[in-house]
């Protein structure tokens, strides 16, 4: 048993998968000698060499497109996008190509690529180093979109993504990198893609969320417990395609649902979660579904006070959860 931070869990997953399977390689900006701007690939260049830890030219569509080609040949590329904010030049490759390769070839070809992208705010990242862009990829059949909330899940989901025979977009929260630590088992394990996870059981209200907001929600739940509000927390883990069964079960359990995301409210992943609940749980609900999300401003401002205003915090969740509990 070793205690690892969220980013160490990511690095360890890559290390172990590269050891296990020589078709796994990393391609991205500054992933080589520097070990990545966040140091997620630290040491891998020295261990596996420049053929398997490839410093790509600064061009995201090229990084993903070259990865897709190698994946179609049978390799298992991990393409690192330096910040999720910079993934946009690669959207055509992700959506028109990776997501559709199996479908358009009627199962003749497939594309086992993993695309890692640090997302989220709280690191003075301003508009272009803070965004949550998962929603724009979460209506693309053929793609899987995962967002781990703990070091355990980070490691297990990344391994599952690398071994998956379809393209997986893996968003990792950059504020979580060194904030979250956990003791992980030594033995090999994967966290299944497509399965949500109950992170806390409770009877009064249900919070459904993902990513770093899981951490904030669990902290809020601890405080609320002191007020005798018993919170159930469901971590989506895979935001596309959603685990409908787990969502319905969690909503029905308490009849009061708070949905939380760091993304802008309108058009976010939790809107789809709300739709699932509306379709399946109407007669089990004891209160209107509540959403807590970032304001519908284009992105997170730089100034500390504005950044904080944009972000989801334990306090904001507590406030909303309390209101819901007393509804």
């Amino acid at each position: 048993m070793t205690e690892l931070s969220y980013i160490e869990a990511i690095k360890t997953a890559m290390y172990e998968e590269m050891e296990r399977d020589e078709d796994v390689f990393i391609i991205g900006e500054d992933v080589g000698a520097k070990g990545g701007v966040f140091r997620a690939t630290e040491g891998l260049y020295d261990t596996f060499g420049s053929d398997r830890v490839i410093d790509a030219p600064l061009a995201e569509s090229g990084i993903v497109g070259v990865g897709i080609g190698a994946a179609m040949y049978g390799m298992r590329p991990i393409a690192e996008i330096q910040f999720a904010d910079f993934i946009l030049p690669a959207v055509n490759q992700i959506v028109s190509e990776a997501a559709k390769i199996r479908y358009r070839s009627n199962n003749d070809w497939n594309c086992p690529i993993t695309i890692r992208a640090p997302y989220g705010g709280g690191v003075n990242g301003a508009l272009y180093h803070s965004q949550s862009l998962e929603a724009m990829f979460s209506n693309q059949p053929g793609l899987k979109v995962v967002i781990p909330s703990t070091p355990y899940d980070a490691k297990g989901l990344l391994k599952a993504a690398i071994r998956d025979n379809d393209p997986v977009l893996y968003f990792e929260h950059k504020r979580a990198y060194r904030l979250l630590k956990e003791t992980l088992p030594e033995e090999d394990y994967v966290v299944p893609i497509g399965k949500a996870d109950v992170k806390r059981t409770g009877e009064d209200i249900t919070i459904i969320t993902y990513g770093l907001c899981v951490h904030h929600s669990l902290q809020a739940a601890e405080s609320l417990a002191e007020e005798n509000i018993d919170v159930h927390v469901l971590d989506l883990r895979t935001v596309y395609p959603l685990d409908q069964e787990a969502i319905i079960e969690a909503a029905n359990k308490t009849g009061k649902v708070l949905l939380v995301t760091e993304d802008n409210k309108e058009g976010s992943v939790i809107g789809e979660v709300a739709a699932i609940i509306a379709e399946h749980c109407l007669f089990e609900l004891d209160a209107p579904v509540k959403r807590l999300a970032a304001p519908d401003a284009p992105s997170m401002p730089y100034a500390h006070v504005l950044e904080k205003e944009f972000l989801i915090t334990k306090e904001k969740i507590e406030h909303e959860a309390r209101q819901l509990a007393h509804f």
Partner: protein, 331 residues
């Protein structure tokens, strides 16, 4: 007096050049049939490669179809025929039937892909296949698998970011990939001079650390020679090559396009004067390999093949509607 034989010195036998001609003629006849089927309302769409058969067969013939990969674009019927796709399979694609090996009727005609024949699946957004081909080349480098990847595209597509990102990557890593641009001088309706600021496409290679070569795309032997040399460079780990084959588009952009809106009758006449099928047949006649009898026999044989394929594809079944969500993910 017979014309000087040009193909023997390139290492091509008489049978080779006749095979090239056959594929060119077959491509043309399938293309013409598809247009008839489209105009009679039997197939919804067609994107023609008429006039580009020489460039396509010249390039494909220079590759080793057993090991090399191609990432074709939508006009590349001669390329995929040479790589092993059959006339019947092309007709199944045109009719969008279940047995279409490219996509089981999911994709438009011209969107090729067939793993067993090393034809990489493609899409409609142009140039996306360039980084894919570079990725195949990267895989060949990492895994030490000796093969070459050839990617083709049109002249207009060389304006896309993926063309430049792909070539730059290939140049930095000196990968075994050949980028083959078929410059038919039009991007749908917009002529070359309004598309491309550089004097030609080949010169774009100079930014990406690789040779850029212009060849006569109406002469399959010229094209063959250039691609053969590029393949040798690639397989010997000497790096990538960009080849620009200047050719003619003898059709409208697609069955939904009317090229008379932007091309004059004189321009089209001039283009038809360069029709590679005619000029290559003339060459074969001049070197004594083709005459009217051989031509007629070949034509008959090909028309039978096209007729049989048409009938088969017309009668074949569509995919069951219940397959609409099959193969979104691995099952």
């Amino acid at each position: 007096m017979m014309k000087k034989n040009k193909h023997t010195s390139l290492g091509l036998t008489d049978d080779d050049v006749l095979a090239m001609y056959r594929t060119m003629l077959l491509t043309r006849k399938i293309d013409e049939r598809m247009l008839l089927l489209n105009r009679s309302g039997q197939i919804p769409f067609l994107v023609s490669g008429k006039g580009q058969e020489a460039a396509q067969i010249g390039a494909a013939f220079a590759l080793d179809t057993k090991v090399d990969y191609v990432a074709p674009y939508y006009r590349d019927m001669a390329v995929v025929l040479h790589f092993g796709m059959t006339t019947k399979e092309l007709m199944l694609l045109a009719f969008a039937k279940e047995e279409d090996p490219n996509s089981a009727g999911r994709q438009m005609p011209g969107h090729y892909g067939q793993k067993k024949n090393n034809i990489i699946t493609g899409s409609s957004p142009v140039s996306t296949q360039v980084p894919h081909a570079v990725g195949f080349a990267l895989a060949s480098r990492i895994k030490q698998d000796p093969f070459v990847t050839l990617v083709t595209l049109g002249d207009g597509s060389t304006n896309q970011g993926d063309f430049h990102e792909g070539l730059n990557f290939a140049g930095v890593h000196q990968l075994p990939v050949i980028t083959f641009v078929q410059n038919n001088k039009f991007a749908i309706s917009v002529p070359f001079e309004k598309q491309v600021a550089s004097e030609n496409i080949a010169v774009r290679a100079s930014s990406y650390g690789m040779p850029g070569i212009i060849v006569d795309g109406n002469d399959p032997l010229d094209v063959y020679q250039a691609v053969k040399k590029a393949r040798e460079r690639a397989i010997n780990d000497e790096g990538p090559t960009l080849i620009e084959a200047v050719t003619e588009r003898l059709s409208a952009h697609s069955s939904d396009d009317n090229d008379q809106l932007y091309r004059t009758v004189e321009e089209l006449k001039e283009a038809h004067a360069n029709d590679c099928l005619v000029t290559f047949a003339n060459y074969l006649e001049e070197v004594g390999l083709l005459n009217e009898t051989i031509k007629a026999d070949l034509q008959n044989e090909i028309m039978n093949e096209v007729n049989e394929a048409t009938t088969y594809a017309e009668k074949a079944s569509y995919a069951d509607v219940r397959t609409i969500t099959d193969y979104v993910y691995e099952v």
